[in-house]
């Protein structure tokens, strides 16, 4: 290498550094930081490799697969009723919500429908799954940013909802309660009144968090303007649920798609936020929890009497065909593409999980942010490992 003057060398280094910021391929010497697989911000075992230039991320790559369980393959050797046991474990915080779209897809292919009471109870438990899931997020986001208290409140108040789910289904986390054509059993006596009390508790929790976190200057400082996702980019990456509504896209499958479930009988609102930053994502989820309590309240009031199980053959065979069924799950759009050849079990099940797409945007959104904001962004995108790896 030719001897160069000092000023030439500094000009060269400055040029390289400038290039590194605009072009990942030309990155200057940096440091590689391994986040996880056991980092608290990863909710399980997602590993994120970030390449740093000083305090700034120039490149990030999530590494999934530490928990892949092969449900798509396993579903091919299960009967239809057995598949719900598998899919319970996808998003383990809102398990019941995973069962519903699969059962709906099977019902669609069979051309049967559950009676109204079953649909209403499904919707109630679906929204309770949403609450159990998002309440934990609302507390967890705080703890990731250094506010310890909210997460204890979250664990405390989530119990109200989990107790109800347990009372109705027998399982706190894995209800396995939905059946083709109906439900496992009816609600226990006194459940409706208890559920109403619990909804009040959930609302109180939301108000508490509103005070504790949303109004907190440090929290706002850490979240506002961090990890902004424009709507077009988010949609191209397949972001769904609160993540895309926080970018101003007014889309909610519960409202926009025709579903046999009972949302259409309720009066509720889909919240959006124009900012698209971490704060917006938190805000939208908080409102969503309130709306879920509102939906459940209305459904409890109007719960129709009658049977909870449609007439189905003892041995369930699903006619040949293909069906796509999706619902608005706590984490976003969850769907099953079910291919049947007329047997006792599915020929192929493609499980479309929201977190897989929600995390695929991480390399894009982390580019150029500072290290502490990595945690904010990961927390606000909100993913569940079982939901990425399936």
């Amino acid at each position: 290498m030719a001897v160069t003057a000092d000023w030439q060398r500094s000009a060269y280094i400055a040029g390289q550094a400038a290039d590194a910021r605009v072009n990942v391929e030309l990155e200057a010497e940096g440091m590689t930081l391994n986040l996880g697989p056991q980092h608290p911000a990863t909710h399980g075992t997602l590993r994120i490799v970030v390449r740093l230039d000083g305090e700034q991320v120039v490149w990030a790559e999530p590494v999934a697969g530490y928990m892949h369980r092969g449900y798509e393959k396993l579903a091919e050797v299960r009967t239809y009723p057995q598949v719900t046991t598998l899919v319970n474990r996808i998003d383990w915080l809102g398990s019941f919500c995973n069962e519903v779209p699969f059962i709906l897809a099977a019902e669609e292919l069979m051309g049967i429908e559950a009676p109204p009471r079953a649909q209403w109870i499904r919707t109630i438990l679906f929204e309770m799954g949403r609450m159990a899931n998002i309440i934990l997020f609302l507390g967890d986001m705080g703890v990731q940013l250094g506010a310890i208290t909210p997460v204890f409140y979250a664990f405390r108040d989530r119990e109200h909802v989990l107790n109800l789910i347990e009372a109705a289904t027998g399982g706190r986390f894995h209800p396995n309660y939905d059946r083709i054509g109906g439900l496992k059993e009816d609600l226990p006596r006194g459940w409706v009144d208890e559920a109403k009390t619990a909804m009040g508790k959930v609302r109180e929790f939301c108000d508490e968090l509103d005070d504790l976190l949303m109004g907190n200057e440090i929290f706002q400082e850490r979240c506002r303007g961090i990890g902004v996702i424009p709507p077009a980019v988010g949609l191209a990456y397949g972001l769904s649920g609160a993540n895309i509504r926080a970018s101003g896209v007014d889309w909610d499958i519960r409202r926009d798609e025709d579903s046999p479930l009972a949302w259409k009988h309720c009066d509720w609102k889909v919240w959006t936020h124009p900012d698209g930053d971490s704060f917006a994502r938190y805000w939208v989820r908080l409102q969503e929890t309130r709306e879920a309590a509102r939906i459940v309240d209305q459904l409890l009031d109007g719960l129709p009497p009658g049977s909870i199980q449609a007439k189905v053959p003892r041995i369930i065979k699903v006619p040949a065909g293909e069906a796509w069924c999706h619902t608005e799950n706590p984490l976003g759009e969850m769907g099953y593409y079910v291919v049947s050849k007329g047997g006792l079990g599915p020929f192929r099940v493609k499980i479309r999980t929201p977190s897989f797409n929600n995390v695929s945007i991480v390399p894009w959104v982390l580019r150029g942010v500072y290290v502490p904001d990595v945690i904010t962004i990961l927390a606000s995108l909100y993913f569940i490992l079982g939901d990425i790896d399936r």
Binding site: R78, A320, G343, N357
Partner: protein
Amino acid sequence: MSSAPEPPEGDHAREELADALRQGLGDGVIGSEVARGDLWVRVRPTAWRAAAELCKAELGLDYFCFLSGLDWLDNPALSGEKVWDPDAGPGDGTAGDGDGTPGDGAGAAADAGWATGVAGGASRFQVLARLYSTDRHLGVTLKADLDEADPRVDTWTAVYAGADWHEREAWEMYGFTFDGHPGLRHMYLPGEFEGHPMRKDFPLLAREVKPWPGLVDVEAMPGEDEAAAEEGEG
């Protein structure tokens, strides 16, 4: 589909969408079907990339839902057929498909050992992807037949950035190659893994080792007999 009858304008809009694809791609579209309030369009693999571009730029399908693969190879052990039937005797694993041969309604293709899906198919492998318009609330499932010996198709990553991970998954699970993909590497499986697990000829070892149902012929766990005996007495 559900009971709630699909509004006719919904199906009408779906037909229009299929027509728009047919106009934009010419003979790139091989088949389409509107059924149960949903739309399927099968395109030639050469038109796969163009279909995505058309959908995004002109048809307003802004949301990328998923991309995956299908393997139509007939393997009764892994086709939702060889599963436990309570009416069948133990050991009769294939009793599930008593009502006919696998691939009912598949027509001539069944003879060749595979069935075709909705909107048809002429090869063992198909790539399928779903796009959606968050504005018009209209979705389409696109399919393309891939060559069995060398399944390959153009990447969508430049059109829908979210296709990146889904294509990596289809690459490792089905062995599809996506031309132009920036980095086809393992998504879930370890780097030295051989084979494509979601293909129908890839055995599920757990089932090979212990036939389903494990329930009737499984050996008792140590101590299980006594536990059962105690229960009986109590």
